[in-house]
Subunit: 194 residues, 2 copies
DNA sequence: GTCTATACTTGGATAGAC
DNA sequence: GTCTATCCAAGTATAGAC
């Protein structure tokens, strides 16, 4: 599957539905039949656009990662301080979570990771690496400029915040009144700003 | 399923294997066939001990929650300060994660939550409630005694730390050199101790 | 590009012998 | 309590008509 292949309108609808299903019930929780019902096409037609479930999964993650990268660029451009950037970053997750308690695509696939095809697993890893690298950069600037204070390395702070946001969505699913990723981020940040 | 039903030796082995499978590949990622191969019994024999997959799942979570509650009591008894208790708590997750990158049973099921039977979902929720309540108590004492400092309520700190630990395991699965729940907890605590 | 039909496999579950 | 045998449903995938 080429990252830059343009998806036909039908393929896009299928990928949209598949993404939502991954975020709701996980990769192992949905079948072509579910997609079929949601898009109003037969299973065989889904297979015309995506040869296998793995192909579909890979496409979903690649699209998701691409959209996330664009969002990171926007955050970088629109905000100048580390605390502002980190809160805007957390809001990306907050928006996802507010949508029917959807999980991050890669949070879900990360949990299921050990049962996934290697190609999917590798795309999930890539998503996390991109996020940690971006957060690392933001944290590093924040520590250098003094807008953030911590005895820990930027890289460690990056993975900690990412873990917190993914975890807030996961745990929030089972809570009556979850704090959510945005609030969780504020709590973490209040420990980095003195 | 009664919480206090004693499990026969065979039932215990089955539950042990099922728990490990949940932590590795998730509830939707394993079948009776996998268990059958691991315990060396036929599928029909598994069904003799657990009428359905849901029954088995419920038993696994109830056992896991019971063992966790006992661990919480031990931590409470062996440590007296909030920071020490929280680190010991994080080590419960660290130990799980060190074991072949196993996830917390309820972290995994929490992710899959929307595809699970209501009875299972409810057991998962109970696990999280117990953990948040315990952490809330520890945080509250810490804030009162001054061993912890934060502008946030104990309850919020509790859910934040739980989210961080669950998330550290989830994200850690996809990282080459994950920081892990213990280290993540240290990072969070360093923001609560000034 | 979408359909019907179908092949093949796996998964959860039950009946009944031992 | 464990087994063999079997049922039925669901899931992935393919062939071939339209």
């Amino acid at each position: 599957m080429n990252t830059h292949t343009e998806l036909s309108p039908s393929a896009q609808r299928i990928a949209d539905v598949a993404q939502a299903l991954v975020q709701e019930v996980g990769y192992n929780g949905f079948s072509f039949e579910h997609i079929s019902q949601a898009v109003g096409m037969r299973k065989a037609s889904i297979h015309h656009h995506f040869g296998s479930k793995v192909d579909l999964g890979v496409t979903v993650v690649q699209r998701y990662t691409g959209q996330f990268e664009e969002a990171l660029r926007q955050v970088q451009k629109q905000f100048s301080s580390a605390p502002e950037r980190l809160l805007a970053y957390a809001d990306l997750f907050e928006t996802t979570f507010q949508n029917n308690h959807h999980l991050c695509v890669c949070g879900m696939l990360g949990a299921e990771s050990n049962s996934l095809d290697a190609s999917l697993k590798s795309e999930v890893k890539r998503f996390f690496q991109i996020n940690v690298a971006w957060l690392n950069h933001v944290m590093d600037e924040g520590l250098a400029s003094g807008s953030l204070r911590s005895p820990h390395h930027a890289k460690v702070l990056a993975e900690t915040l990412l873990s917190l946001l993914e975890g807030a969505m996961l745990v929030g699913r089972s809570m009556s009144a979850p704090i959510g990723p945005r609030h969780a981020c504020e709590v973490f940040l209040s420990g980095l700003i003195h």
